[in-house]
């Protein structure tokens, strides 16, 4: 079993009456609710948390892309991944991912992911989500009916840019390039592993199966509801005669650990409430633009993650219901060990994307949650799926070859930028004089 510590980076300070006063946390949320000075603190707290997770032995650190919202403050997850390359040593950087249809041209993604792979010593997992309807259609203006075509074309271009040795021309419908010649190229050859995050579109199952990509299912209904989608995926894999390897599937799950079950309820209830009622408060009209999901997916009866019907399902749920229905796996380490093992077996899932900071959770609680999980739960789950080979994790450089940032020396009594530069240049002069 592998564990990726996933951060959504929410805005933690939406007002109490947010849900009543505003129609959506996404797309047209008022800008005056964001305070960039608070944002400074949040970004740095969140990076601290990810780095802490690295030190606690998680296999991966996860970040993702969203736009114009307070649910997740990473329009560019690549910036966060870049920041993490310098202070983390061990964990893989799971960028889940870049909504590739939004980049013009999409080789921008091939380039940035190659940079991240090189910077991190081959620790990158490249995620290619289609992106939510809010992000792609409403915020970035993509025509819903053409989004998937554009996505597939971008995928073909990026993979070819990584794997082709010589410059080539690309004559696509959405992108035309006379010269594609990627510099730098990734450390991982022929390319970094590709994970496809999905919310339940049936086409994504075929796409993953056909390309041998990992399917990462992101659901906020928890693992019991997630079963339907997981079964759909395994059905497709089985029909296509693929190995039913649990590591070819990831699942995102909110996990909240405390000393006891009672303490968990006390600690986490307000933050669950914040997450479901503020972070996921999306106006129904933005949830699913016509054409974003195919008629095939709609007819398959898979519920969207946000919007009226999703909200109706979650309405009036209390802590007990959230726990019982599997929206959250929470409680004492013992409870969490049992439920989580059951959940992962139930879904036949080898990569857990664990959400330990959600909604308004403050740093101290995140640290406790993470620490308890890492020491009291994770070690007891490592044996699960040990009979399978994980072919979807990065093939990185040997640990001893990964560069360590050099110590920074400067006169700490003089902290302005000019003196820093002066100190740095005098040092480098001293070095070259030797």
């Amino acid at each position: 079993m592998k564990f990726t510590w996933f951060h959504l980076m929410p805005y933690r300070f939406l007002p109490e009456d947010f849900k009543d006063k505003y129609r959506s946390v996404w797309v047209d949320i008022p800008r005056n609710l964001y305070d960039p000075k608070v944002g400074h603190r949040l970004y740095n707290d969140y990076l601290d948390q990810l780095e802490y997770a690295d030190s606690m032995g998680f296999d991966g650190l996860g970040v993702n892309e969203h736009h114009q919202n307070a649910y997740g403050l990473m329009p560019s997850p690549n910036i966060m991944a870049a920041a993490m390359t310098r202070r983390t040593r061990n964990a893989n950087l799971v960028v889940l991912g870049n909504s590739i249809a939004l980049y013009n041209p999409p080789i921008r993604v091939a380039e940035e992911f190659a940079m991240l792979d090189v910077l991190s010593g081959g620790r990158l997992v490249a995620g290619f989500p289609v992106g939510t309807s809010m992000d792609t259609n409403f915020c970035y203006g993509e025509v819903p009916a053409l989004l998937r075509q554009k996505y597939y074309e971008a995928h073909d271009l990026i993979v070819k840019a990584w794997t082709e040795q010589d410059a080539f021309a690309f004559n696509g419908k959405f992108t035309q390039l006379r010269y594609v010649n990627l510099w730098p190229k990734p450390i991982q050859q022929p390319r970094p592993p590709i994970w496809i995050p999905g919310g339940g579109s049936v086409e994504t199952w075929d796409f993953c199966a056909d390309h041998d990509y990992q399917y990462s299912f992101l659901s906020y209904f928890g693992y019991l509801q997630g079963k339907k989608v997981a079964d759909g995926y395994w059905d497709v894999m089985s029909k296509k005669g693929k190995e039913l390897n649990p590591y070819s599937m990831g699942f995102a799950q909110v996990v909240s650990v405390a000393e006891t079950d009672e303490q968990a309820e006390k600690d986490y209830t307000p933050h669950m409430d914040y997450f479901y009622n503020r972070c996921l408060h999306v106006y129904n009209g933005f949830a699913d633009a016509p054409g974003y999901r195919t008629v095939k997916t709609i007819k398959a009866g898979i519920l969207g993650q946000v919007g009226e019907r999703a909200a109706a399902m979650r309405q009036d749920l209390k802590w007990k219901d959230f726990v019982e229905q599997g929206y959250v796996i929470a409680g004492s380490p013992k409870t969490v060990r049992e439920r989580l093992r059951e959940a992962m077996k139930h879904l036949h899932c080898g990569h857990l994307m664990i959400l330990q900071q959600i909604g308004s959770m403050p740093p101290e609680l995140v640290r406790k949650n993470t620490q308890l999980f890492a020491t009291e739960v994770m070690p007891y789950m490592r044996d699960l799926w040990s009979e399978y080979e994980d072919r979807w994790s990065p093939k990185r450089m040997p640990q001893q070859n990964i560069a360590v940032p050099a110590p920074v020396h400067f006169d700490s009594t003089r902290t302005n930028g000019a003196s820093r530069t002066a100190a740095a240049s005098s040092q480098s002069e001293a070095r070259s004089a030797k």
């Binding site: 259609n137 409403f138 203006g141 025509v143 819903p144 009916a145 053409l146 419908k173 106006y283 129904n284 009209g285 933005f286 633009a289 016509p290 054409g291 999901r293 008629v295 709609i298 007819k299």
Partner: protein, 261 residues
């Protein structure tokens, strides 16, 4: 009468509605919401004209939406339909998105539209007068956007929300199919450069607008009259965006008078 019209040897199959038997041909292009199984205003116009009202690919039973990506594809497709119907040049009436398409059809080939009637057409964007986001509108908001009187029988009939869950689901899937096609021409802003091409429209042109259109406000009518040389505007009172249903008499009279002139 409803028939299936194969276009390009079956690459497209159109659900073709025809009204009337005699008179000059009139091609009707429907709006983003689609067309009713039977259109009362076309029945009435059928007394004087032979009307062809195809459901656009992606609407009703019509197929081939995957071969159309943008407004140019759509306009050239209409040229092809006209050729195969043996009405290479005809009077054209378009409503809303269909009005935008009719204008493109006329601009891309000046011989196509004998006379052109644009009823509350889409196609332009004015920053000072943003058009409400029809795609994000909820079912219960639609009547208010489309009708002068959202409580009129016509409005209630056309925007009824089925109580039965199964019926609601069918309606939802149909709506998704229609608007997914429409998004190729209207998303995220219903402007695909008609402004550049409108000068090519040479046909005598009538612009019809509902006085209380809350979807595409009447101020847009001025843009059309300004950019299409010699065009004439007629505003219909007590009518919103769905003017031909709300004021059928006035609408039919305006069309008939213009075409008979």
């Amino acid at each position: 009468m409803i028939t299936t019209q194969k276009i390009l040897d079956g690459k497209f199959e159109l659900e073709m509605h025809t009204y009337g038997s005699g008179g000059e041909p009139l091609l009707f292009l429907h709006g983003a919401g689609g067309s009713l199984p039977s259109e009362p205003f076309l029945e009435e116009l059928g007394h004087d004209f032979k009307i062809f009202a195809p459901h656009f690919p992606g609407y009703g039973e019509s197929t081939g939406t995957e071969h159309i990506d943008d407004i140019e594809d759509a306009a050239l497709f209409v040229h092809q339909v006209m050729d195969e119907l043996k009405i290479p040049s005809a009077n054209i009436l378009g409503h809303s998105m269909g009005g935008m398409l009719a204008a493109e059809v006329a601009a891309l080939d000046v011989h196509r539209a004998k006379k052109l009637i644009l009823a509350a057409p889409a196609g332009f964007w004015l920053d000072a007068h943003p058009i409400p986001d029809f795609f994000a509108a909820q079912l219960d908001e639609i009547a208010g956007l489309l009708f002068h009187d959202p409580n009129s029988p016509a409005a209630k009939m056309m925007t009824a929300i089925p109580e039965d869950f199964k019926a609601l689901e069918v309606m939802y899937v149909e709506r998704v199919k229609r608007l997914a096609t429409a998004s190729k021409f209207l998303w995220p802003i219903p402007d695909r450069g008609l402004r550049k091409r409108a000068y090519r429209i040479q046909s005598p042109t009538l612009i019809l607008w509902g006085e209380s259109d809350r979807l595409i406000p009447p101020v847009y009518a001025n843009e059309f009259t300004k950019l299409i040389k010699g065009s004439k505007l007629e505003t219909i009172k007590q009518a919103g965006h769905m003017l031909m249903y709300e004021q059928q008499g006035a609408f039919v009279k305006a069309v008939r008078d213009f075409l008979k002139r």
